[in-house]
Amino acid sequence: MGDILLFVNFYLIPGIVLGSIYALGAIGVSMVFGILRFAHFAHGDMMTMGAFIALSVVGWLGVGPLLALPFAVIGTIIVTLGVDKVFYKPLREKSTIIVVIASFGVALMMRSLIMVTWGVSTETYTTGISMPLVFFDGLRIAERHLWIIGITVAAMLAIHWTLSKTRIGKAMRAVSDSPELSRLAGISTEKVVQATWIIGAGLAAIGGVFIGWDSQLHANVGWDLILPIFAAAILGGIGKAYGAMAGGMVIGIAEEISSYPWLGDGPLLSPGYKTGIAFAIMVIMLIWRPSGLFRGRVY
């Protein structure tokens, strides 16, 4: 096996998979930040929620995680709309930083419900080892990785279509760019807010199921993703959905290829420090260009 194939099989493809998961979380974080104007710290726990709903469906119906995906999406959307109604909406008129604090409380509540309902042990959707598919005499890719990348691409195309072609998508972009002007134009802010949560929660649930499918599932899986997801949203530019997609991909790939032996024999960066990459990228962006690559907002 050549060096290039080794790089692609063991570093680049896992990087794209991880990047897909980050992007799915970062789009929601970025849109919530752009439209509701606050950093939503319960987003990772929404992903965990989706992942565990899928786990139950897998257990009840005996299907694979792929068929459980729609249930996870719908379940997470319902929970999120409820959370918004009960915990975020009453604070809408207050300073947004109060809502950030509330989102920490929501994160704790969600995680504790997940721990009480599903336990604290590590779970998996499927047992046994699946053999990767082999293409072109040496390019190995696991079937689930193909699904993860394919569904992420499809989800992003759907987001693109929604934002550019539908009425609600255009309204969302308008509110993100200027809430005052869009209110004058008669756009219902509450509808836009709900649409934002539906999209954000749906994508988060997909990302959560994917992280569980790709590795393992535990109650802290989403919280552990919150740092790279915020880093991706900042890298792409707050409020920019396409920026969040690109940002997630860049950070996912950067994390995985950072442990490739670029210099000498050992990994360039010890795999234990992978998460540090996201933080380093975020710090550099905050110093150099807080508006992100796609010229988002700086609050």
């Binding site: 950093a39 710290f41 109060i98 509330a102 509540m109 504790s112 336990g119 604290v120 420090y273």
Partner: protein, 319 residues
């Protein structure tokens, strides 16, 4: 004294010591958020660096981790304040000029990175096994006198921190901090160096959290990775501050008293039910749910906490 009485007394001393340690850290957080409006959610990071600094300096020489250097308690405590101040300077330099949400993300980030370092750099921290045999001041007194003397030490430290912060907040320096929080353009227009003042408040607050970490390490005689998880430091402390009344030092101390008592006693309530099997391992996590719910209820119903902020010289508090 009967055994039962000794048991209750020991429990009361433990409870009071923990409340006092949380009180110290809460005062630091209150300087950050309550007074200056700096959204620091990296308490766990500053706590951890303080705790590990104190642990490495005060333990006896060992091969398990860096040091130890067998230094006295106060050397470790001061060093803990210095290392957490340095960390805060680094974070503050980068994001103090940005809006609070970014500071929140950056402080969470630094806390998580620090956890990675503590986990991976086994030579210095003994990794996930943590640092044990940290000396506890006054332990040689034995019996109940030892814990009581330690409690007195923590209370003295708490009183000093409280006194200095109250003095600071009523001084021109403290008034400028409130001015920056409530109306930054006006503070800037009257010629105040907003970035510098904010950085000062951030660093002082963080070093107090580091001191809290040092106290905790000496109290438990052990510091490990679990103690650096955000739940028991960052979140609990935030809830204490919000419930008690952010901006009011006495309110924060009251919040520490109420929330830690609730947290500690709920454990006993759960034990009293003597659950068995799977449920017994899960029900304790309901405590997190209750803490999150209390936070949200207070935010919605009593935005200013139990003891609202009192402005020096003014009657209106922040909305």
């Amino acid at each position: 004294m009967s055994d039962q009485l000794i048991g209750y007394s020991n429990y009361a001393i433990t409870l009071a010591t923990m409340i006092a340690i949380y009180g110290v850290m809460g005062l630091g957080l209150n300087l950050n958020w309550g007074v200056t409006g700096l959204f620091n959610v990296g308490v766990a990071g500053f706590f951890a660096i303080g705790a590990y600094t104190a642990a490495i300096l005060s333990t006896e020489e060992t091969t398990k981790h860096l040091g130890g250097f067998d230094m006295p308690f106060w050397v470790g405590a001061i060093a803990a304040m210095i290392t957490s101040a340095i960390l805060a300077w680094f974070v503050g330099k980068i994001c103090i000029r940005l809006r609070s949400d970014y500071l929140a993300i950056a402080t969470i980030g630094i806390a998580e990175i620090l956890r990675l370092i503590l986990k991976n750099e086994m030579w210095a921290t003994n990794g996930s096994r943590g640092i044990s045999n940290i000396p506890k001041p006054f332990e040689e007194l034995g019996g109940m006198a030892g814990p009581l003397a330690f409690l007195a030490l923590v209370l003295v430290i708490l009183a000093v921190v409280y006194y200095l912060l109250e003095r600071g907040q009523h001084s021109p320096w403290g008034r400028i901090m409130r001015a920056i929080r409530d109306n930054e353009p006006a503070a800037r227009a009257s010629g105040k160096n907003v970035e510098r003042l904010r950085l000062e408040a951030f660093i002082i607050g963080a070093s107090i959290m580091g001191l809290g970490g040092a106290l905790s390490a000496h109290y438990f005689k052990f510091i490990g990775l679990e103690a650096t998880e955000p739940l028991l430091t960052t979140f609990l402390l935030w809830v204490m501050m919000i419930v008690g009344g952010s901006g009011n030092n006495r309110g924060v101390l009251l919040g520490a008293l109420i929330i830690w008592s609730l947290w500690s006693m709920s454990e006993m309530v759960i034990q009293a039910f003597s659950l068995t099997g799977e449920l017994a391992t899960r029900i304790p996590y309901m405590r997190m749910f209750i803490i999150g719910l209390v936070l949200n209820i207070v935010l919605q119903k009593w935005g200013q906490g139990i003891l609202p902020e009192r402005h020096p010289g003014g009657k209106d508090a922040r909305n």
